[in-house]
């Protein structure tokens, strides 16, 4: 089994989100970047396939050189090799095109990704990648087993889950449930030392045209102050929700 884990390099969840250049660019000043939280679940699941089923695990990111520490972190967690496709990630369509090249040239049969990147919340790269490659695809995956050439995956649906059987090759877009939160791997000292010797290949990007382009950003307007209701006066809350907010 050759597993490729797609890693998106995103601002830490506590980051203050600011923009610059007349609100056209995300201001990375003071922002710490991390492995996209959903991708951590995918990576940890991949480690399990490596340890229990002898899979080889490669991580990939499409991005400029500033993303390399994030890839090194994935290597420290246990991936065997890393690939950085050397181009700015501008839209999901073009990122998926770049990743499709990596999957084809590396002959990967299992591609694990997160269900969305927490920066642009696109939720589009894995599904597009699967379509470009004509691989099977499971979105919002909360459980995955692979035996031979068959994957059994649980997909989250509203109010429950469904179990999907699909043949490899496959792209999986995962989230919590793929592994449990408590089982998420973090790099240890030995892993960090070993990661330095592991290969990080910089691949040349192919020429693709984007399908979408970010034109500007906007911050939500500050909302008015909270209306406090006295704990002894619940009727007032009900009246506000009914007459003012009109939600009950």
């Amino acid at each position: 089994m050759k597993v490729l884990v797609c890693i998106s390099h995103v601002p830490d969840t506590t980051s203050k989100i600011n923009f610059k250049d007349d609100n056209t660019q995300f201001d990375t000043n003071g922002v710490q970047f991390v492995i996209n939280p959903y991708d951590e679940f995918a990576l940890t699941r991949a480690m399990w396939f490596k340890e229990k089923q002898g899979a080889t695990v490669t991580v990939v990111t499409v991005g400029n050189s500033s993303t390399e520490p994030t890839l090194r972190k994935a290597l420290a967690i246990g991936a065997d090799a890393a690939i950085r496709v050397d181009t700015e990630a501008t839209d999901g369509f073009s990122v998926a095109k770049q990743l499709a090249e990596v999957v084809k040239s590396g002959e990967f049969d299992v591609v694990l990704a997160g269900k969305e990147s927490i920066d642009f919340n696109g939720g589009m790269v894995p599904g597009m990648l699967a379509s470009f490659l004509d691989f099977n695809f499971v979105n919002a995956c909360i459980g995955l087993e692979i035996e031979g050439t068959t994957a059994t995956a649980a997909r989250e649906i509203d109010g429950g889950k469904e179990i999907i059987k699909a043949s490899l090759p496959i792209v999986i877009a995962g989230q919590k449930g793929l592994v449990e939160e408590k089982d998420l791997r973090i790099p240890n000292m030995r892993g960090i030392m070993m990661a330095r010797k592991k290969p990080l290949t910089v691949a040349t990007a192919i020429d693709v045209t984007s399908a979408t382009a970010s034109t500007s950003f906007e911050k939500p307007t500050a909302k008015g102050a909270v209306k406090l209701v006295d704990a002894a006066n619940i009727d007032e809350l009900i009246s506000l929700l009914h007459n003012e907010a009109k939600v009950i």
Binding site: N139, D158, E162, I163, T212, I234
Partner: protein
């Protein structure tokens, strides 16, 4: 030219998001000076969609499409889009919509954007406003392809009545074979789900333990709401993971979100901010949730919630 709206149904019954999507689609079609076509798969009462502005309903009835399969559905949508020369294809942000969206886009060689919260701005191409950074900001995205696929964020446009004289036509697509199949579905029935709910009642670590969730359940029941929780609550095993909401859990875009004993950490707020009205009940007036909420009560949940249940029951009895 046309705007194609994928109107999702479950067991033949349209989901509420389908009505919102048709409402939105009608307005997009007006802006573009074109017509609306809704595509339905194994749905009953197709003429319900006329009320929200569907001028034509293409209706597919096929047993092979009984279970949702993203790839087969995406192939059907592609055929419909080609048949009606769609320039814009609209899907909802439910689990199924977001599963097939990227596939539909690739099939049609279309640009795709999700989390869209506004009508397109056509002054300078085709630009939509969308949620980004887990609702901490909006991003304006220009879609530069001829065909555009848009996933509308739930509750961002609303259901708008706009009755038209529509027609229903049968549509018979070819169904592709797939090597993927659904072997089992496990679903809680008879309970309002977070995805569907108009009101969500959510509990945090302030509730001290799973044994105290009875009042949360009861409050939800009185309001016809879904129950949810903060991340530590599901991590501790007090509640199932499926109830975890926030940046790394389920997103909530309800009309009303009631947070009880939840501090309002940035990662929690990021996932629930898209809700219209937020109420917080917390003992600590300094809890960050008070900055994000519309209404708040500084008080002990164990005193406030039972009273709230009692008063709401009275209110419901009077307004029934």
């Amino acid at each position: 030219m046309s705007v194609l709206i994928i109107a999702d149904s479950s067991e033949g019954i349209f989901k509420k998001v389908a009505f919102e999507l048709v409402s939105y689609g009608k307005k997009v079609a007006e802006l573009l000076g074109t017509n609306t076509v809704a595509l339905t798969i194994n749905a009953a009462d197709n003429d319900q969609l006329f009320k929200y502005g569907a001028e034509k309903v293409l209706c597919v009835s096929n047993d092979a499409l009984k279970d949702f399969n993203a790839k087969s559905y995406a192939a059907v949508i592609q055929q419909a889009a080609e048949a009606v020369d769609a320039t814009v294809v609209l899907i909802d942000s439910g689990n199924n919509g977001l599963y097939m969206g990227p596939m539909v886009a690739v099939n049609l060689n279309a640009g795709y954007t999700t989390n869209v919260v506004s009508l397109p701005n056509l002054d300078n191409g085709f630009i939509v406003k969308r949620n980004a950074f887990s609702t901490k900001a909006y991003n304006h995205t220009s879609i530069t392809t001829d065909i555009k696929v848009i996933a509308l964020a739930k509750n961002s446009y609303g259901i708008v009545e706009n009755e038209v004289a529509g027609v229903v036509e049968d549509f018979n697509p070819t169904i592709a074979e797939t090597t993927l199949s659904v072997s089992a579905v496990e679903k809680i029935t008879g309970k309002v789900t977070i995805g569907d709910a108009e009101i969500v009642v959510s509990g945090g670590r302030g509730l001290k333990g799973p044994e105290n969730w009875g009042m949360i359940e009861e409050l939800a029941q009185v309001l016809g709401a879904a129950t949810a929780c903060s991340k530590p609550v599901s991590d501790l095993g007090w509640r199932p993971h499926s109830e975890h909401v926030g940046q790394t859990g389920k997103p909530v875009a309800a009309n009303l979100y009631i947070a009880i004993g939840i501090s309002g950490a940035i990662q929690h707020l990021a996932g629930i901010n898209a809700s219209k009205v937020k109420v917080v009940i917390n003992t600590d007036p300094e809890a960050p949730f008070f900055k994000a909420a519309d209404y708040g009560i500084v008080g002990d949940a164990f005193e406030v919630v039972p009273k709230l249940i009692e008063k709401l029951k009275e209110f419901k009895a009077q307004n029934a």
